[in-house]
């Protein structure tokens, strides 16, 4: 498995929020990023997606250093389509004044990628019959899938989902998980799932990293980490799993 993403000593501008993160991810791999509220999961996801400036460290994507790029510069970088993040508030991340179909087409043109929206909608489990609607006319679950379709239209090598599946019903979650798995098998793309649903992590992510107070405190094979948690944060996440 070739290395897709390599993080060394990555820190946010405020190193108390996130610091000293080393992480590597292989092509096609699925990694779970779990932690309590405020642990730094979203901060790390946004740094990897180059949405926020780095405080320190290096980020290499497919061997190319991108950590030094300001978010505005990365937005015009040839590697920009290769890493996509779906934000937790998916509905509000979509342009409110236009249809999903138009948003998908604009994204495709802006990123200069070939193809059309149908494949991305299918991979995200988004019902094409709803593509003419604006975000406000979609349920929360459909808005999440629309945001995922927008991310997938870029044909990313790495997709980061920030709590995206938490907004979905159990059945819809199963549907989207299976659609994502098919998409990964077809494209060889890697996936980072941010969340705290440990049942979902166990099922969908062979490897997991536990964040606590801005540091990775435990990482390894998900079954091993959750089976014998060593850090108090991991135990808190697992112990509460059954409510």
């Amino acid at each position: 498995m070739s290395v897709l993403l390599e993080l060394r000593g990555v820190a946010a501008r405020d190193p108390a929020r996130l610091g000293g993160v080393d992480l590597s991810l292989g092509a096609g791999e699925t990694l779970g990023l779990a932690g309590r509220h405020g642990a730094g999961k979203t901060t790390l996801g946004r740094l990897i997606a180059r949405l926020d400036p780095l405080g320190a460290g290096r980020i290499a994507l497919s061997g190319a250093e991108i950590g030094h790029l300001a978010p505005a510069d990365f937005a015009r970088h040839p590697l920009r389509p290769a890493v996509q993040m779906v934000l937790a508030d998916a509905a509000r991340s979509l342009p409110p004044g236009q249809s999903i179909a138009r948003t998908l087409e604009e994204t495709r043109v802006r990123l200069g990628v070939a193809g059309e929206g149908a494949g991305a909608m299918a991979a995200a489990g988004f019902d094409p019959a709803l593509a003419a609607r604006r975000p406000a006319a979609l349920s929360q679950g459909q808005a999440v899938r629309a945001a995922m379709a927008r991310a997938l239209i870029a044909r990313p090598g790495l997709l980061i989902l920030d709590e995206s599946l938490a907004a979905l019903d159990a059945s819809a979650r199963a549907e989207v998980l299976l659609a994502l798995r098919r998409w990964q098998e077809e494209t060889g793309a890697a996936l980072i799932l941010i969340g705290h649903d440990m049942g979902l992590m166990r099922l969908a992510c062979p490897r997991i990293a536990i964040l606590e107070a801005g540091r990775i405190v435990e990482t390894g094979a998900t079954a091993a980490v959750l089976g014998a948690p060593r850090h108090a944060a991991t135990r808190a996440l697992c112990g509460a799993e059954r409510g």
């Binding site: 159990a170 819809a172 099922l203």
Partner: protein, 302 residues
């Protein structure tokens, strides 16, 4: 004592040709947590709203609905609600922030509620108590709304996805507080789309599909008999041994309230459905102590 009693409740909303709740029967007794489990749009929140009077103008309730022994009349701006809300029933809304007073700190709101009811209130952590709702996260607002509800003497707590925005430790704390309140004699209706959460937190579960309650059962050792409940079980990531075993529920849930629905609204999605399912309402059978299934052809007992 039965704190929430719904017997064959039909709920109709203005502008909707069909019933959004169809002969819904459900009871929540003192001391128990009952999880009402269903997909988005299944009508689970509407049942709670009917019980606390937060229905849109023009809503009509048929059948019998009683809260703490008081019959709920047709919804509307009924004056009677002020004697029920807060005194007997507290409603935790999913979008908690919108139901908090925006201009008062959480501590102030809790103090007002406690003073009104002559109760002793527990404040949440200082970071939440001292803040205005606008400065809090969605999860913190849920914790604040719970504290507010628990500051009332309400015996029936309607908790709509009370842990939706919380991480596992915080969610566990919320469920523990609901459990403690139930241990003091309250009844809790826990509304969730998460079957695993419902099974872990509740004494009994009720599964709702498109406005019809299809199965009720004790949570411990539950083996679903209704094909929808069984399908929901197979769609739960937390309950599946691996990704290959995960099976989404086939098809889409019909919209409750639409015209021309099948008599059993799960029939169009159901692998076991026969002609009778489209035309004849499913009989409600008792399948054990406190267990019912509404199906013409339920799955065999496991």
């Amino acid at each position: 004592m039965t704190l929430l009693m719904a017997e064959a409740v039909d709920l109709r909303l203005p502008g909707r040709p069909g019933a959004v709740l169809d002969r819904a029967t459900l009871a929540v007794g003192a001391g128990e947590i009952v999880a009402l489990i269903g997909e988005s749009g299944s009508g689970k929140s509407l049942l709670a709203r009917a019980a606390s009077g937060f229905l849109p103008q023009g809503a009509r309730i048929g059948g019998a609905l009683r809260v703490c022994g008081v019959a709920i009349p047709d919804a509307g701006p009924a004056r009677g609600w002020s004697t029920l809300r807060g005194r007997m029933v507290a409603h935790l809304f999913q979008d908690a922030r919108r139901h908090l007073h925006p201009a008062l700190t959480i501590a102030r709101q809790i103090a007002q509620v406690a003073a009104r009811h002559g109760t002793r209130a527990d404040l949440p952590e200082a970071a939440i108590a001292a803040a205005l709702p606008g400065a809090l996260s969605a999860g913190q607002c849920q914790i604040a709304a719970l504290a507010l509800a628990l500051a009332t003497p309400a015996r029936l707590i309607l908790a709509d996805e009370p842990t939706a925005h919380l991480d596992p430790p915080a969610a566990a704390a919320v469920l523990a507080r609901l459990r403690a309140r139930a241990a003091q004699g309250a009844g809790v209706l826990l509304i969730t789309h998460d079957l695993a959460l419902g099974l872990g937190a509740a004494d009994r579960v009720a599964v709702i599909h498109a406005g019809q309650i299809v199965e009720t059962a004790p949570a411990a050792g539950w083996r679903p008999r209704h094909p929808y409940a069984a399908a929901l079980m197979r769609a739960m990531p937390a309950l599946a041994p691996d990704l290959g075993a995960l099976r989404p529920v086939p098809g889409r849930m019909p919209v409750p309230g639409d015209a021309g629905l099948h008599a059993c609204r799960f029939a169009p999605r159901c692998p076991r459905a026969g002609a009778v399912c489209g035309t004849t309402p499913p009989p409600v059978r008792a399948t054990g102590p406190g267990a019912t299934v509404a199906c013409h052809d339920p799955e065999a007992a496991g």
